[in-house]
């Protein structure tokens, strides 16, 4: 069937990449993606939000960190459509007169940055430990897996809180403002590595006994090169699914920690920080300060979750 597929790319593209592109355009993955309307919608939403967050300085009407642009006189203006609203502030302003829409865009930047960084950290740590555990086996394997089991008894949010608390205890004397985001990323990442390690270890155990690995071993390639160049590419499929779902979880965890007041400092508000600030004004009727950032967070997480759900089903051969 693939033989009859017309190639799409021009002559200047090399043969290898052309076939890769053609293979992608003809793949089940793309087909299953396009046939699910809700997945396409989720992908567009995710991409749109990410781009808006990435280009926040260009997209946002104001810069919420620029003190020259904000005025306390503009504080707590309701969103468009309500009484006393101001056409300059589409979603209203917060308690310090910052435009809420801009705040959300800049906040999403921080939420996404922490989300991506902590997922990357967790993935690198988990994949490495999983590879070593599965490939080396024996005592190393037993130790790593016992640690994983013990850690798995605790919910990630509790661990992240604890690690954050301990880290601030250790780094307490150093400037907290600059380090907060890194401590946060570190603690979220460290509480998510187990899933990667267990998955990768499982697939490594299978791959290890296949002929190509044995062949590589026979011709004397060092173990670490076999792990990285030969085993790793073959165990990455499930990791992608975990990473997508974890991104949603990491964003929620970051927002939760920031909401609890142990996350990012309020000079650089993430979505969670904005919601925490807004929570204080819920009772005096200024609902928009908490609700709009919350909705932005919910939409972002929902879209990423939908993508993850689809990816899990699409990559699972049992469901085809």
């Amino acid at each position: 069937m693939t033989d009859n597929t017309p190639t799409v790319s021009g002559s200047e593209v090399s043969a290898a990449s052309r076939s890769a592109l053609a293979r992608f355009l003809d793949s089940d993955l793309l087909h299953s993606f396009l046939s699910s309307k809700i997945t396409v919608l989720a992908a567009i939403t995710t991409l749109g939000l990410m781009l808006a967050a990435l280009f926040a300085p260009l997209v946002a009407p104001f810069n919420p960190f620029d003190l020259a642009q904000i005025s306390i006189l503009d504080a707590r203006i309701p969103p468009i459509g309500m009484e006393w609203s101001d056409p300059r502030y589409l979603l209203g302003t917060d308690d310090q007169g910052r435009d809420l829409l801009s705040g959300i865009l800049y906040g999403m930047r921080i939420s996404l940055a922490v989300g991506f960084l902590s997922v990357a950290f967790a993935a690198v740590l988990g994949i490495s430990l999983g590879l070593i555990s599965g490939y080396v086996g024996g005592r190393t394997d037993a130790i790593i897996m016992r640690i994983a089991e013990v850690q798995l008894t605790f919910p990630a949010i509790l661990l992240a809180l604890l690690i954050d608390g301990i880290a601030s205890g250790i780094f307490g004397n150093i400037d907290r403002e600059t380090w907060a985001i890194w401590i946060l990323t570190f603690s979220i990442g460290l509480s998510f590595w187990v899933q990667y390690a267990r998955t990768v270890r499982g697939s490594t155990l299978v791959e290890k006994n296949k002929e190509y690995v044995q062949a590589a071993r026979v011709i004397g390639i060092p173990a670490w090169i076999i792990m990285i160049r030969h085993v790793l590419p073959n165990v990455l499929g499930p990791v992608l699914v975990i990473a997508t779902i974890n991104l949603a979880l990491a964003i929620i965890t970051e927002a939760t920690l920031s909401f609890l007041g142990v996350g990012v400092p309020s000079t650089q508000p993430s979505l969670g920080t904005l919601i925490r600030i807004g929570n204080d004004f819920l009772f005096s009727g200024e609902w928009w300060i908490a609700i709009f950032p919350g909705l932005a967070l919910a939409i972002l997480v929902l879209a990423v979750n939908l993508l993850g759900d689809w990816l899990r089903d699409a990559l699972n051969p049992k469901l085809r």
């Binding site: 013990v150 605790f154 809180l161 205890g169 307490g172 609890l260 007041g261 142990v262 009727g285 997480v301």
Partner: protein, 326 residues
Amino acid sequence: MFGFISRRIAMALVVMFVVALISFLLFRFVGDPVNQMVGVETTPEQREALRQRLGLNDPVLTQFFRYIWGAVQFDFGNSYQFKQPVADLIGRRLPATLELSFASAIFALLLGIPMGVYTGLNRDSWLSKVFLSVSLVGISLPTFFIGILFIFLFSVTLQWLPSFGRGEVVQIAPFWDTGFLTASGLKAIILPAITLGLYQMTLIMRLIRAEMLEVMRTDHIKFARARGLPNRSVYYVHALKNTMVPVITITGLQLGSIIAFAIITETVFQWPGMGILFLQAVQNVDIPIMAAYLLLTAFIFVVINLIVDLLYVVIDPRLRTERGRA
């Protein structure tokens, strides 16, 4: 069978030992305990005397065993912030957290199981689709934001339910104040319990649904139908019973995470429980409270895991042989 149980207990002891070690290392090495206890004007000699008196100059191993010996007797030292015994502080707040966790677990089970059975049996009905979509949204909304939405809707706008505190409490034991016996106490627990239980409810529902779909395809269900048993008895006696093993596992594990997630719910609703205490400890680097909380939650989790493992064996006779060998 006996081997399986003893191995599980041994594993639980190992976990507790590791957690105790971590919690001791925290207690001993993160920040200087002496610095936290004395003022700026204390002389080095006085500090050294205090150090000697607290036994901080003893070998680390001796200190570790002293710490464990204290922990077994509920002595976790004094809180840095409150200058009171940690055990008292936690003990006074434990009932609030346990009542909240209990109420939300009941809510999650009472709603999650029927919804799961229904969506599993009626895959394509519109109500199932509504349940499933709502559950996806429920999973995507962070707990604290659900709490805020509830407060906004039911406390601020409709003014039906209180938004903070436990209401009136009645003392039923020296350490136990219950909110279950007064009208205001019951009213106060509704919103926090639903907020805390919502995620667990959706999880249980999805799990039972998946299990029901699986079980309905098996031979013994076909056989039960062939015997002409009424639908109700097929669904609730033959099918549901077989979905229970994973449900018990997940519910057990979720009980643990309910206690952890209570930190968030307690903060949103100003619920005077253990979670808020722990959060304050994290913010103020109050290590004795953090260490004790870590030990206590680890203990609760380990006990729950152990009970779940034992229940497995009771419920599913097949596991008595297979798991014992594995």
